[in-house]
Amino acid sequence: MAGYFISLLGTERVLHCAHGQDVLNAAIKAGLDWLPIGCRGGGCGVCRVMVHSGSYETGRMSRRHVSSTDAAIGFALACRLYPAGDLVIEFAPAQRSPA
């Protein structure tokens, strides 16, 4: 199956993501617990990551959690992150949590 390898920066952790699948969904399907699972709709910001390398596309994401500037420098929400090649990602939670 066509797909890409998504590595977590500084760790041995790798997951396989199919073309057209978002990275969070790939992690959930693989039963991995190292990506935080939130709303899965681009709205809550819980799965925020920084993409250090690799090409990708993103779906619509809440601008509160990934501003245009953030997006331009590589921040994304994993649930809206569609790889176009192998990626190296890092967790990038927002500064404050709601509760």
Binding site: C39, G41, G43, C44, V46, S62, R64, P98
Partner: protein
């Protein structure tokens, strides 16, 4: 019936990232009926509601809630409440009739938690799909979870105690149930306008956020059906089917395509003005929120829009 002033939670306006996807979710899956839409907003209602709408969707860059509105008995209630808010030096905005399709004039103010609350008296009625004379018990053509009426919203924000004080003194809301810390500080409050277990609820948190909106389903079996639909349609589930200790509500939490949390809610109880307040210790929050599980899940405190 002797309800004066605020009758019930009337509508909630939420922001969505993709209006078409949201309309699909709320009609095909949640089972609401789309009454009207323009290029900016969509207006939807539960099947058993007579008013034009109880949910308004607005496409925007970030999801969350714009405001929640309560319906009052008459236009003079709006004047009276506006006066009482101004006496307390609370800024009130007047919104002209028709700003939302089918709704008369509204007044708006912000509560200490940071949320915008609105009030209105007049709303066009479009009916519940059944005749007013000798009706059957449900209309044809209901879809999905068949959400029947708007129940409540739960909001997170700083200043629950002050917000409760304001809403109870000015809007006549009653605290049906609350959550207190060991020092007696109230960190959660479930307020009722009339006879529901709650029309609006607040939980103490550092920033104003939207936790969920809830619609009523008729029975535990309808909740079961909703759970089937969630799996069948690959809807992002949060937790459930389960039950709350607070309100005794039967429930499922799940997310719309923009990440706004939805609830289907049933069971619960009738509230009357002489029902005592039920209090939960913060240490029992697990049982209070998820009665069967007995503990919170990660998402309850961390996933909001």
């Amino acid at each position: 019936m002797a309800i004066e002033g605020v009758m019930r939670s009337g509508h909630v306006q939420i922001r969505v990232l993709d209006l078409a996807a949201a309309i699909h979710h709320y009609t095909e899956y949640y089972g609401l009926i789309l009454t009207a839409s323009d290029d900016r907003r969509a207006y939807l209602k539960g099947w058993d509601e007579f008013d034009h709408h109880s949910l308004v969707l607005r496409e925007a860059d970030e999801p969350g809630m714009d405001h929640v509105a309560f319906k009052v008995r008459g236009e003079n209630d709006l004047d009276r409440i506006e006066g009482e808010l101004r006496e307390r030096l609370i800024a009130v905005t007047q919104i002209p009739a028709g700003e939302q399709l089918g709704v008369g004039r509204r007044i708006a103010f912000t509560v200490p938690t940071g949320h915008r609350i609105e009030l209105y008296a007049t709303c066009e009625q479009v009916g519940n799909g059944l005749p007013l004379r000798n009706p059957d018990v449900w209309p044809d053509g209901l879809k999905g979870m068949k959400a029947s009426r708007f129940e409540h919203v739960l909001l997170y924000g700083p200043g629950v105690e002050a917000t409760v004080a304001l809403l109870s003194s000015v809007l006549g809301f009653v605290v049906a149930e609350d959550v207190v810390t060991e020092d007696g500080a109230r960190i959660g409050a479930f307020l009722t306008a009339a006879s529901k277990s709650h029309d609006i609820a607040f939980i103490e948190a550092p920033e104003a956020r939207f936790h969920h909106l809830a619609y009523w389903l008729e029975s535990w079996d309808d909740i079961r059906q909703a759970a089937d639909i969630i799996r069948k349609k690959n809807i992002a589930i949060d937790i459930g089917p389960t039950r709350h200790g607070i309100s005794r509500g039967l429930t499922i939490y799940f997310f719309d395509p923009s990440g706004n949390r939805n609830e289907v809610f049933s069971g619960s109880y009738q509230h009357y003005p002489d029902r005592p307040t039920i209090t939960w210790d913060a240490a029992e929050l697990g049982k209070a929120i998820f009665y069967y599980e007995g503990r919170l899940n990660e998402a309850f405190l961390s996933v909001t829009t």
